[in-house]
Symmetry: C2
Subunit: 412 residues, 2 copies
């Protein structure tokens, strides 16, 4: 999107420093090698004097630390390299899903510094109890983070459902949740993180959105635009535009599972007909392949399907091809609409990508007007099942990197 809209608030004296803190820190985060102050000065256009002053603030606030510089040939005083600190603020990522709870801690550099996966069937568990268990795990994570010199600056919770801006889970069908007020249920518990100005204590969002952010993991923050599709029982998509998640007017974007791919086709639980979910959802694929899903947890069923396909089982191959074709129709719609150049298959789709990608690419080639000029990449996700939790944690640290002033004002 072109940066044409007016700034949000008044630009006071201090705004200048805030902007330059963000600018310099962003450069440090985006650099592939530790930059020197001089590098930063030339890269940002600021003077070295200013960069030094800004870096001093960042060092004092434990956002960056000095490292051995990139070796350089030639004469001159050696530079001191700057890297994101490994003992400053960190983000807490949480996930509640059907089969597991996950908690993880991600530092400024995007490294996962703590991770817990607690496998359990959460469907029979009341939301309040599920959240209570999560709080316990989060407490351990916080203690572990503290041992590593990390301060949890904010938390984000991924949920497989629709979440409104206030953190109310309107509907998480596979979990059996409806109108669950997460912040309210957590208010009785001790706080998960430290309080940091400008960083919300807890953000709740759809797992597909956070999984998409996870895909930015260990990637320089920048202008990436892509579609990340989480293929579980339902199918959700996270849309990343210019490096930022697009959440829609009310935060309910990405419901790709209910794009009609056969408008007069099978009825869907959403009330519509022929939704993608009915043709490319996990249950549909597994049923089409002739597997009895009822007893299998989702990930086991997926693994089994991949085995069968690997072995050349014709039913499995046909099921995957048909699902991929349906998925391709939906993806072609998205690409025609948004002109994205990358599509990432995540969640349950990742292990099935070898069989899903070809039909998806075929549909794109056939249906996308501009495909001839500009190829669309379709690839599996780089993260595993913990993508959503990592992405959630990452969303916290990205916020700090984008606006370090809040953190610094806390730290004194």
């Amino acid at each position: 999107m072109s940066p044409t809209h007016a700034p949000a608030g008044a630009a006071r004296q201090g705004s200048l420093r805030e902007l330059n803190l963000a600018l310099v820190l962003g450069r440090i985060a985006a650099a592939d090698r530790p930059p020197s102050r001089a590098d930063l000065a030339t890269a940002t256009g600021l003077t070295r004097a200013t960069v030094s002053a800004v870096v001093e603030d960042l060092l004092a606030g434990q956002l960056v630390s000095e490292a051995d510089p990139a070796p350089r040939a030639g004469a001159g005083r050696p530079a001191r390299g700057l890297v994101l600190a490994d003992r400053g603020p960190a983000g807490l990522g949480l996930e509640v899903n059907v089969d597991y709870l996950t908690v993880c801690v991600v530092d400024l550099a995007g490294q996962v510094r703590h991770r817990t996966v607690h496998r359990a069937d959460l469907r029979p568990v009341a939301p309040a109890d599920a959240l209570a268990r999560l709080v316990d795990l989060a407490g351990e994570a916080r203690a572990d983070a503290a041992r590593q010199g990390l301060t949890l600056a904010g938390a984000a919770l991924a949920v497989p459902g629709l979440v409104d801006d206030a953190g109310l889970v309107r509907l998480a069908p596979n979990l059996g949740w409806r109108d669950v007020p997460v912040p309210e249920l957590l208010s009785g518990h001790p706080s998960l993180t430290d309080e940091v100005p400008g960083v919300p204590a807890l953000v709740v969002d759809n797992e597909a959105n956070f999984a998409a952010l996870g895909e930015l993991h260990s990637r320089p923050p920048g202008l990436a635009s892509f579609l990340h599709i989480s293929g579980e029982v339902g199918i959700g998509a996270g849309i990343v535009l210019d490096g930022a998640l697009f959440r829609g007017v009310r935060g309910w974007s990405g419901e790709i599972g209910h794009l009609p791919v056969h408008p007069q086709g099978r009825p869907c639980r959403c009330g519509g007909r022929g939704c993608l979910e009915q043709y490319a959802g996990q249950e549909a694929i597994v049923a089409a392949a002739g597997l009895l899903r009822a007893e299998l947890p989702a990930d086991i069923a997926t693994a089994r399907l991949a085995e069968l396909a690997e072995a050349g089982d014709p039913d499995a191959l046909r099921a995957l091809h048909d699902a991929g074709t349906a998925l391709g129709v939906a993806v072609a719609s998205v690409v025609n609409l948004l002109d994205l150049d990358t599509v990432v298959l995540g969640g349950g789709y990742a292990p099935l990508a070898p069989w899903l990608c070809p039909p998806v690419l075929a549909e794109i080639a056939a249906r996308v007007l501009t495909a001839a000029w500009s190829p669309v990449t379709v690839r599996p996700s780089t993260l595993g099942p913990e993508a959503a939790a990592v992405g959630a944690a990452e969303s916290v640290v990205r916020r700090i990197v984008a606006r370090p002033a809040g953190w610094l004002s806390r730290s004194g």
Copy 2:
């Protein structure tokens, strides 16, 4: 989208003033009544001293002028109201389409101050000649603008086709254009506008994109997000997110005409099957209604169709209902994906909206998961056929309002 990404450039001393110029000017533009300096101070959070200084710059640069204030009850020195100037910079909007050329001038306040529509069949005309005619019309527009005290600060050209970032028209099928380098063809002619720092001399883009911007016409600049669908021979959509046009990675977003609504249906000229265009494009509707389109210009055919529908002609009504249903399937996809709350039917769809809206709404209600919680508005465009040209011109003035510093640095 959350404003989480880092600022583009270094924040230098002058950036502060640039930001506040934009902030104050944006407030003046957004206000429904002429605000006083004191109003602006409380609204922006700046001090009155700063606002006065900023306003002085804006007055000197002919971006705002003083007007009679809004009458106020009570004691106190009367305020002086500030309005966008009606004799400062203006935008030049151009459109080449199949049946006409349009040129218009829009001032800062969004008023159309000049308009020329030159009807002609442009298909047999070579691109260079069509552009030459446009340059002539633009010259007259510029002279007329000068008489009104307006300075043309930039130009934008709307074309019914795919345009890349450099202004190369890759493909405009209905016009018969292919790989037309517009800026190059115009380079021999006298320049259309004055040169203003920060404002490109000419922006070329898809008519659907500009028509969507036109829908923001005379509306306060803000966070509107909507989908604007231009139903012509082809069907294009402009996506406005948070008040800004979304152009996609390469500027080719909005190809809603090629969303598959019947994946195994009629073959489309794009190579795919069952594209929306085959069911809701003008030719499809007119043919389904039993009209002989071949001889009729598009707008006449649309008017005839509206007459027939008004008279209760069953073929016309059925054709419109079927088209609306197909359109609704595509719109439901978009809403599921992007969570927009408003859909605008523009171009050839506007006069047909009374018959298209009901089936579109029905499909949305049936297929959009979140429709139950949050209604989606579907309404016809407020602008007529000149929406694209007005939107193009408006894009220029919006850029100036968003970044007044460039204009001011020119003006001295």
